[in-house]
């Protein structure tokens, strides 16, 4: 079981990487607008020139 002494810090280290990634994403405003992109993706493709859905 002594391997835990090594494994636990490694696990914490991995989760720390995720925290850093999260902090980066939050600072970059990835969570600022959670609403519009979900709508935008649906109708991105409709081409105005043809006036129809491809």
């Amino acid at each position: 079981m002594n391997v835990l002494i090594l494994m636990v810090p490694m696990a914490i280290g991995v989760s720390f990487v995720f925290v850093v990634a999260f902090v980066w994403a939050a600072r970059n405003g990835q969570f600022d607008d959670l609403e519009t992109p979900s709508h935008r993706i649906l109708y991105d493709e409709i081409d105005l020139k043809k006036g129809t859905q491809p």
């Binding site: 079981m1 002594n2 835990l4 002494i5 636990v8 696990a11 914490i12 989760s15 720390f16 995720f18 925290v19 999260f22 902090v23 939050a26 600072r27 405003g29 969570f31 600022d32 607008d33 959670l34 609403e35 519009t36 709508h39 935008r40 649906l42 109708y43 409709i46 105005l48 020139k49 006036g51 129809t52 859905q53």
Partner: protein
């Protein structure tokens, strides 16, 4: 792709989906007004007919706004002095708009298609939640064109200072809050894994190692993440104001330091429970803050430049100047459809002014040289010259805004239900802890301390602090979808306490527009003749009539010969060899001063048609007010309008005569409201602002959201007063759900106090019980939210 318009019995407008007025419905019109029809035609002509398909395929938040009545002049947007715009890295100009009326995926699509419609636009991005669009122009592009295009789509664009400081600050705060949540989640998650090992009986060196690791892991959660609780608790203590944050901060700190002592002595800690608690609390508060910003954000940061140009007369020249350059004694030219920018005296010209912003009267007032005019009122038909007497902050309207602000500040702050409960709760917990120390301490001081510690930590008002934000979040979100914009949660708490509902007349119970109410004998021939005659006149009645007739089927006016205006106020002229006369109808003497103007049409001296014009009462008002009366509310009407007009409307909708108050200035309205018990004011516009702020609760129903939420607590969009019973019901359910879950959490806490007093609470017990209570509260909140 666009379907041919169906000839069927459509009862709702094809553009805005509002019910079509009966007179238009009778003519098989598929639109509620000419504005909506032109938006519909425009969208199809631009190949944007897909808007309606997209809109139909997504559950929309709110319906599209009805199209505006008149186009606004946006040329000031292209003047760099009046509208400072930002310049992007590659030298392109960009400007942010707050776009009133965006509501669904179709709007996102439509607005982001701007570059395809206007070649000058480099890009357009919409943030649906905040209703802001960032528009970037190519060289030589015009923001005025963009704004005009947005307006012709049926939205109301307001230019806002891009990246305003307040907005930036708010965004940073949101980021920090999110990071705090993330850090707390990191701590809580890792601590749980370690705790599982400890609870299942880990001993020896490895246990000691895990204990020390727990201490390291809990530190970020209990220091960085929990910082807002400490800060707010400290602020509240200094202001001697009780809030839920104080017991939270105390529990967290006691837990942290007791835990440290336990770590050094090899005992168990409550760290997993504490960090989970911090995580959950932060999360629920973040959700609530986001929903509130949704609503408040629309009102708080708007600094737009409406009507920012004034025409100053200097010598023989008329020079356009920015609004802030005005001074007393200046002579200003005010053109039709512009707002008068100062308080002053008319020195040249004649016109009619719509003073409804100050008086609430729908009927335009005639002004001639010597008349007093007020800042903010709308000049209607003539170009006039005004001498400025008061400008800027000294104008009547500015003083009203000032008074509104001070009224709002002086309103006693409502202590929220949670804070009131937590005050008693803290007293109970502290008494219980002291009792345990005394009673158990006589036998075993160590056990007594452990039990008291368990009590303080486990009874930390977890459920209490989670409940209200969660339910309020759901409630505000649902309210937003239904079209009720609620400024803050205290408004929901105040709603069920109301006893009196006072209504404004113009624009609230009525449409607030002068329009044709009835038309009899209207054949196409008559319509054409009357339209042709009246189009020669500038009088507001004539303009209303022409606007109405233009929406009828006849669009070509015949030629009028020998037109002349009669002394009696009528008009006369020859059309196709017949003498046509339009006369005011004074037969009904009892109607004098009443809100209705009658007109008679004569052909060769024979009466052929009859019109009545007035301010129409909104649909369903009678039923709505009857429903409110049945719920036990005292109803009243407070208006700036004349006695006869007020009484007529009050009788029509069922407000008793002794609760009708007429000819009240904005200041008098506020004084009148204070005479009532637990009053709410339902009104609109600037003339009601002081009253809205003076009442226990202000509800606005018409006009721009951002203007109204400055004074009102709630804005009802769309249906206006019709939403009122729904709003009251909504608040009622919200409060019942909150009370129920608070009751539950109190019971739970009493149980916990008993258990810890008897020594049953171990860290393991706490680790199981705390999430269970949180989950239960969550379930109650979700169930309550479903019923909303």
């Amino acid at each position: 792709m666009s379907e041919p318009p169906r000839i069927s019995l459509e009862t709702h407008c094809r553009h805005c989906q509002e019910p079509i007025p009966s007179d238009r419905l009778a003519m098989h019109d598929a639109f509620c007004c000419a504005g909506c029809q032109s938006v519909y035609t425009l969208l199809h002509a631009a190949g944007l007919g897909d808007y309606y398909h997209i809109q139909a395929s997504v559950p929309s938040l709110r319906k599209p706004q009805a199209a505006p009545d008149r186009a606004q002049d946006y040329s000031f947007l292209d003047d760099p002095e009046l509208t400072p715009v930002q310049t992007s890295a590659d030298g392109l100009r960009c400007l942010d708009f707050y776009v009133e009326g965006v509501h669904c995926a179709a709007c996102v699509w439509l607005i982001e298609k701007l570059p395809d419609i206007l070649p000058d636009v480099a890009s357009a991005r919409l943030q649906l939640g905040e209703a802001t669009a960032s528009v970037i122009l190519k060289q030589n592009g015009s923001f005025a064109k963009v704004a005009a295009m947005l307006q012709s789509f049926g939205y109301t664009p307001h230019a806002i200072k891009s990246k305003a400081e307040a907005e930036n600050f708010r965004r940073k705060e949101n980021h920090t809050h999110l990071i705090r949540i993330g850090v707390a989640a990191f701590s809580a998650g890792n601590l749980m894994i370690l705790s599982v090992a400890l609870y299942s009986g880990l001993t020896g060196d490895l246990a000691r190692y895990f204990h020390w690791l727990s201490l390291v892991l809990v530190l970020p959660a209990l220091t960085y993440s929990a910082w807002p609780f400490y800060r707010s608790a400290w602020a509240n203590i200094r202001q001697r104001h009780m809030s839920i944050d104080i017991p939270i901060a105390v529990s967290l700190l006691i837990g942290l330091f007791a835990g440290m002592w336990h770590v050094t002595t090899g005992q168990e800690t409550y760290y997993d429970s504490l960090s989970t608690l911090v995580f959950l609390l932060l999360l629920s508060r973040y959700a609530l803050a986001r929903v509130q910003q949704h609503v408040v954000g629309q009102s708080a940061f708007l600094e737009f430049y409406q009507n920012a140009v004034v025409h100053v007369i200097e010598g023989n020249q008329v020079i356009d100047r920015p609004l802030h350059s005005l001074a007393q004694g200046m002579h200003l030219e005010v053109r039709p459809n512009e707002r008068i920018p100062v308080d002053g005296i008319l020195i040249q010209g004649e016109s009619a002014v719509d003073q409804s912003i100050l008086s609430g009267e729908a009927y335009p007032v005639q002004i001639a040289p010597g008349s007093e005019v007020w800042c903010g009122t709308l000049n209607q038909n003539g170009t006039v010259v005004v001498e400025a007497r008061q400008v800027g902050e000294d104008t009547r309207i500015a003083r009203i805004l000032q008074q509104t602000r001070s009224n709002l500040l002086s309103r006693t702050r409502l202590v929220s239900t949670t804070d009131r409960l937590s005050r008693r709760f803290v007293a109970i917990v502290l008494t219980a802890a002291v009792l345990i120390l005394i009673l158990v301490g006589q036998q075993d001081m160590n056990a007594a301390f452990a039990r008291a510690l368990a009590l303080v930590i486990i009874s930390c008002p977890c459920a209490l602090a989670l409940t209200t934000p969660l339910i309020m979040t759901l409630s505000l979100k649902k309210a937003y979808r239904k079209g009720y914009l609620i400024k803050d949660t205290s408004a929901i708490e105040r709603l069920p306490q109301l006893r009196t509902l006072l209504f404004d007349k113009t624009g609230t119970l009525t449409e607030g527009r002068f329009e044709v109410l009835t038309a009899t004998g209207l054949t196409p021939e008559v319509a054409a003749a009357v339209g042709a005659l009246e189009s020669y006149s500038d009088h507001p009645v004539a303009r209303t009539l022409v606007a109405y007739l233009e929406t009828q089927e006849t669009l070509l006016w015949p030629r009028v010969e020998e037109f002349h205006a009669l002394n009696t106020g009528g008009v006369q002229g020859w059309i196709h060899g017949h003498l046509w006369t339009v006369l005011p109808d004074h037969r009904d003497a009892a109607q004098e001063g009443a809100p209705v103007t009658a007109l008679q049409v004569l052909c060769q001296g024979e009466p052929v048609a009859h019109f009545t014009l007035g301010d129409r009462i909104r649909p369903e008002m009678k039923a709505t007010l009857a429903a409110l009366k049945a719920q036990g509310f005292t109803l009243g009407l407070v208006s700036g309008d004349q006695q006869a007009a007020c009484l007529a409307v009050a009788r029509e909708v069922g407000i008793p005569d002794d609760q009708v108050f007429w000819r009240h200035t904005p200041e008098q309205k506020a004084a009148r409201i204070r005479e009532f018990k637990a009053p709410a004011m339902i009104g609109d516009g600037v003339n009601d602002m002081i009253a809205l702020a003076a009442a226990d609760l202000g509800i606005s129903v018409q006009g721009g959201v951002e203007d109204n939420l400055r004074a009102a607590d709630i804005h009802l969009s769309g249906g206006g007063v019709r939403h009122l019973p729904g709003l009251l019901q909504h608040a009622h359910i919200t409060m019942v759900t909150i009370r129920f879950s608070l009751g539950f959490s109190l019971c739970y806490n009493l149980l916990a106090i008993t258990a810890s007093g008897l020594g049953y609470v171990t860290p393991l017990f706490a680790a199981i019980l705390m999430p269970i209570s949180s989950l239960t509260v969550l379930a109650i909140a979700l169930y309550g939210g479903k019923r909303l």
